[in-house]
């Protein structure tokens, strides 16, 4: 699991890598690599310095665990410490007398409005009656955006005509109370941490609506600046936790570590996609892997588990091992994959695969065409693909709005996939055939 970084460490450590314990020379060399890795991930340089010093002291004289080499040993230690550091603190929201108020704050463009809606949906799924208050009177059409999002997820949005964001927040919360809601989320305007007037305004909103939770919304792509931002928001409104956004990108997200280390405030949620249900509880171990540039196997496993009902999974596994793979199975597995999110995002989570994917383009539209072809087959054809002859192919192509060529390619791909599934049953990891993903190497 510790591929990229531990390989690099192993190369650096060279002969020392085979030693039985970590001596000072090995640790020093390893720490230089760790420092670089953390800096490249945008962890604040002061945080890096302190962290590396701490880990170094701990690593010195460590016996190397059986089954690990020196590089892996160091990475494991660093990974454990990172996880520990980022996981400290309560990741739960606080709830009190209804309605519990949650105040959202952050820089412009960090994703407050979208995150507010996602959080409302998340809370409703936990059985709470949630509402949204539009208190971003700064950005043109921010209120319209929140209303549109509220409509999509059937969550009430409270807006007022006032020009005063404090009043907008107060009135919104009051109306949510009248409506008997359990929890209400106040979306505020983005503001620069150096803008004293706007930071004071945020404090006034806080004093007026008395939130039990103040969440700082932070873009995962933020650089060294994350520390200044967090310190300023900490000083003005003393936030309770962080929501990390835009984690569906490829940012390593070192800002998460910086903010946690500097403010001590826990990271509570992670936003992992544009869709409104793509807000997750924060997982410190995964974030540690991400910051260190390692694949995120746990997330993948969990996603897969969530997408596949248990019975389905067992049946599918049995069939895979048996090497039976009909178009019905194909459709089922395809739809599971879709439920897990964009295919490229999923494959990226696999260690090693992420880098392979750099040159590969997975065409999601192409995958939809594949689905259309399968849907144009009769149940019998899906079960017994071997009966699909020329006339049937023509009919399927016409029915799915594709060409006979594409149908042929899919038929060939199923055969290939069946073969792969057999391998999978034997415990080796297959790659998706390019015909299925529309994948083609880029220049």
């Amino acid at each position: 699991m510790f591929d990229a970084l531990s390989d690099r460490l192993q190369a650096t450590l060279g002969v020392l890598g085979r030693a039985k314990r970590l001596d000072e020379d090995a640790v020093n060399k390893a720490m230089r690599e760790i420092r670089l890795a953390l800096l490249e991930a945008d962890v604040n340089f002061q945080v890096v310095r302190d962290f590396v010093a701490g880990v170094k002291a701990e690593a010195l004289g460590d016996d190397i665990l059986k089954g690990l080499n020196a590089g892996q040993q160091v990475v494991k230690l660093v990974h454990d410490r990172l996880t520990e550091l980022m996981g400290a603190g309560d990741s739960q929201l606080a709830f009190g007398r209804s309605p519990t108020v949650i105040l959202m704050a952050g820089l412009q463009g960090s994703g407050k409005t979208t995150t507010s809606a996602k959080l409302a949906l998340h809370l409703r799924r936990e059985g709470k009656q949630a509402g949204l208050v539009a208190a971003d009177l700064q950005r043109p059409a921010a209120i319209d955006q929140l209303e549109q999002l509220g409509k999509q997820i059937s969550i009430p949005v409270y807006r007022t005509d006032t020009q005063d964001p404090v009043q907008a927040a107060v009135q919104g919360v009051a109306r949510a109370k009248e409506d008997g809601l359990d929890v209400v989320i106040v979306d505020t305007a983005g503001r620069l941490n150096v803008d004293e007037a706007l930071m004071d305004e945020l404090a006034r909103i806080r004093d007026a609506v008395k939130p039990l939770n103040i969440l700082l919304v932070l873009d995962a792509m933020t650089g060294q600046e994350a520390v200044n931002v967090a310190e300023a928001f900490q000083a003005h409104v003393a936030f309770d936790g962080v929501v990390l956004t835009k984690l569906d990108g490829d940012a390593r997200g070192g800002a998460a570590l910086s903010v946690k280390a500097i403010t001590g405030k826990p990271i509570k949620f992670a936003s992992v996609g544009e869709k409104l249900d793509q807000l997750e509880v924060f997982h410190p171990d995964r974030m540690a892997s991400r910051i260190l540039g390692m694949g995120d196997v746990l997330t993948l496993i969990e996603k897969a588990e969530a997408a596949v009902a248990d019975d389905d999974q067992e049946e599918m596994e049995r069939r895979m091992r048996a090497g039976e793979f009909t178009f019905d199975d194909f459709l089922k597995s395809y739809r599971m994959l879709r439920k897990m999110g964009p295919v490229k995002g999923i494959l990226k989570l696999l260690p090693g695969v992420g880098q392979q994917l750099d040159g590969v383009d997975i065409d999601e539209a192409q995958m939809a065409r594949v689905e259309a072809i399968v849907l144009s087959m009769t149940p019998l054809e899906r079960r017994s693909p071997s009966i699909i002859n020329g006339p049937r192919r023509r009919r399927i192509a016409a029915g799915s709005g594709t060409s006979i060529d594409e149908v042929n390619r899919l038929l060939a791909a199923r055969k290939q996939m069946q073969k792969m599934m057999k391998q999978f049953g034997k415990g080796t990891m297959p790659m998706l055939p390019p015909e299925l993903t529309g994948g083609k190497p880029r220049r």
Partner: protein, 315 residues
């Protein structure tokens, strides 16, 4: 001393431009210095001893702290070390950073119309930059048409239309959820038919890792290419100055999808140093052309490598 719009546009300088120069120097310096310790203040006070390992380390950390990134920092330090003597660290550092940026940028406005495509990830300030740029072209005697290619974000079109009206630019919009390539087509065609000097096409923010959205962007570019030879003449990536090393990835992948000609670095009025621009210039050779230092209309400025480098190191 700083760069003027006339210089960026290749126009003859006017008296107003001279005033603009002095005004800008102060503004960028102010905004960069505000609430931020100067890079040099973080280095050892007094003279820089090139034999002092710790002094070099502090220098590295200062650059890293400015989001300059590991690679570009190593390169800057290597070049400074190669100098042997460093009389004034601030001067030397500014010179080296300036060299990394290359020549001061220009827009070639000879094609009629000159087509400018504006791209970037979500929340960097694309629409605002398009609006302000339109205004600047108008102030410098160019007729402008803007195309609202952000058909995704709610109310993005309205936002740009207000800017266009303010600037006195023509406006081409599309219904929400419409095809951005169609907007680009309409904008370029209208710009040609009406004889406009400049056509600026805004696009929706997208994460560079979303391949279907990057394909959509590539299509917008192809449509523009198909209407006018050599267009788009400028493809600008808008980068938020608070962005860390991911900015490099953004520049790489947007570059692969649509072929960038430059960067607009926004939100420099915060406490972020914007050093990611140095990394992008060094690793990808992509010049910065515009900087945004505030919400006001005059807070979009032509990028001046020397001024930026000076402001970065001396506050």
């Amino acid at each position: 001393m700083s760069r003027t719009w006339a210089e960026l546009f290749g126009d003859e300088p006017t008296v107003a431009d001279e005033q603009e120069k002095t005004g800008f120097f102060g503004r960028l310096r102010d905004s960069l210095a505000k609430s931020r310790r100067a890079l040099t203040a973080e280095l050892a006070a007094g003279t820089f001893d090139t034999g002092d390992e710790e002094a070099w380390e502090r220098l590295e950390e200062a650059l890293i702290h400015g989001d300059v990134g590991v690679q570009a920092t190593a390169e800057i330090v290597r070049r400074l070390e190669a100098r042997g003597e460093v009389a004034d660290l601030g001067d030397a550092l500014a010179e080296e950073i300036e060299l990394l940026f290359g020549a001061a940028p220009t827009f070639d406005l000879t094609p009629k119309p000159t087509v400018i495509l504006v791209v970037g990830v979500n929340g960097t300030g694309k629409t605002t930059t398009v609006g302000k740029l339109a205004q600047k072209f108008r102030e410098h005697g160019r007729s402008v048409l803007v195309g609202a290619g952000d058909t995704f974000r709610a109310a993005a079109e309205e936002q740009l239309e207000i800017w266009a009206e303010r600037a006195g630019a023509d406006f081409i919009g599309a219904p929400a959820g419409g095809d951005p390539a169609a907007v680009a087509f309409d904008a370029v065609e209208a710009g040609k038919a009406r004889g406009r000097d400049v056509v600026i096409v805004d696009t929706a923010g997208r994460l560079h890792t979303q391949s279907h959205l990057m394909d959509e962007l590539a299509k917008v570019r192809r449509v523009i290419e198909g209407r006018i030879d050599g267009a788009p003449h400028e493809t600008l990536l808008v980068v938020d100055a608070t962005t860390g090393q991911n900015g490099l990835q953004q520049a790489r992948l947007f570059g692969e999808a649509v072929g960038l000609t430059g960067v607009a670095l926004t939100k420099l009025d915060g406490s972020a140093k914007g050093g990611i621009a140095v990394a992008i210039a060094y690793e990808l050779g992509l010049p910065v052309k515009l900087v945004g230092v505030g919400e006001g209309l005059d807070d979009l400025r032509p990028f001046d490598p020397r001024e930026f480098a000076r402001a970065l190191v001396s506050g």
